[in-house]
Symmetry: C2
Subunit: 158 residues, 2 copies
């Protein structure tokens, strides 16, 4: 059984030819699934805050940096204006951010958190501990994952 199985893997040319496009042999697919599913897990916590995941990471940048231009925001989040413009309009409609044209360069739009936006930070700090429990990776695996993902991001950026 062992030897025939081994033989199969090597000799089965018909199977081997398409191995590289099997779902289970992809690296991209589990990446895509993990991203999607973890964002989905965030939803109940973010619902409490009345924002979506994209809005959440946008607020993270504003909490950390105060005010930033749309283009800087795009660099931080790997998103373009086609995505950010509607997200920022939504956040503005919710009263969490304000947008204003830069005085020095009228092309740029400066975004910053309002008082309500900054206040949301207090609810936000309760999210990671609760998420961590549900991700449930060992410290070593989490660090390894972190390291490799950032390596990958650097490589993709070329």
């Amino acid at each position: 059984m062992d030897s025939t199985e081994k033989k199969d893997i090597v000799s089965d040319g018909a199977e081997g030819r398409y191995d590289c496009i099997k779902l289970e042999n992809q690296l991209c697919f589990p990446l895509y699934v993990c991203s999607k599913e973890i964002v989905r897990r965030y939803k109940p916590f973010l619902d409490e805050m009345g924002i979506t995941y994209t809005q959440y990471i946008t607020m993270m940048v504003l909490w950390e940096r105060g005010s930033v231009t749309v283009s800087r925001l795009g660099e931080c989040l790997y998103l373009d204006s086609g995505t950010l413009t509607p997200v920022l309009k939504t956040l503005e409609a919710k009263g969490l951010v304000v947008r204003k044209r830069s005085a020095e360069d009228e092309r740029s739009v400066i975004v910053e958190a309002t008082e309500a936006g900054m206040a949301l930070r207090e609810q936000a700090v309760t999210v990671p501990p609760r998420m961590g429990a549900c991700v449930n990776l060992s410290q070593e695996d989490a660090m390894e994952l972190y390291r490799i993902l950032h390596l990958l991001i650097d490589n993709i950026g070329k």
Copy 2:
């Protein structure tokens, strides 16, 4: 400098309180970025085939399994009918798949690749080698990443 820096990290209470919601301390964010950016890298290759990433992974399941129901497809791809129905209609319009109601259970819809859909497999096998070059991870890191992502998927599924 070293000691003051160390002291800062420990003593700066104002910063420390919000560390957990800094973008750089997230695990989910690089996951989200990697997924997005890698899918974007696939685009030129998939454009040659005339399909999108979601359509590509759908075809992978069909190439591998022959015919499957929409719900089985959803289990494989972690997608629901709200996403799959329009994707499958598009693939059908392109002549790559056919959909038919199951005879045994009229609720189920069976999807399978057409001849044109199966033929596309020949172009598909050229994609992973070309993508691999652009991802550029060591064999060890790729395997580690694969392992941890699947661990994560298992954990999230609870």
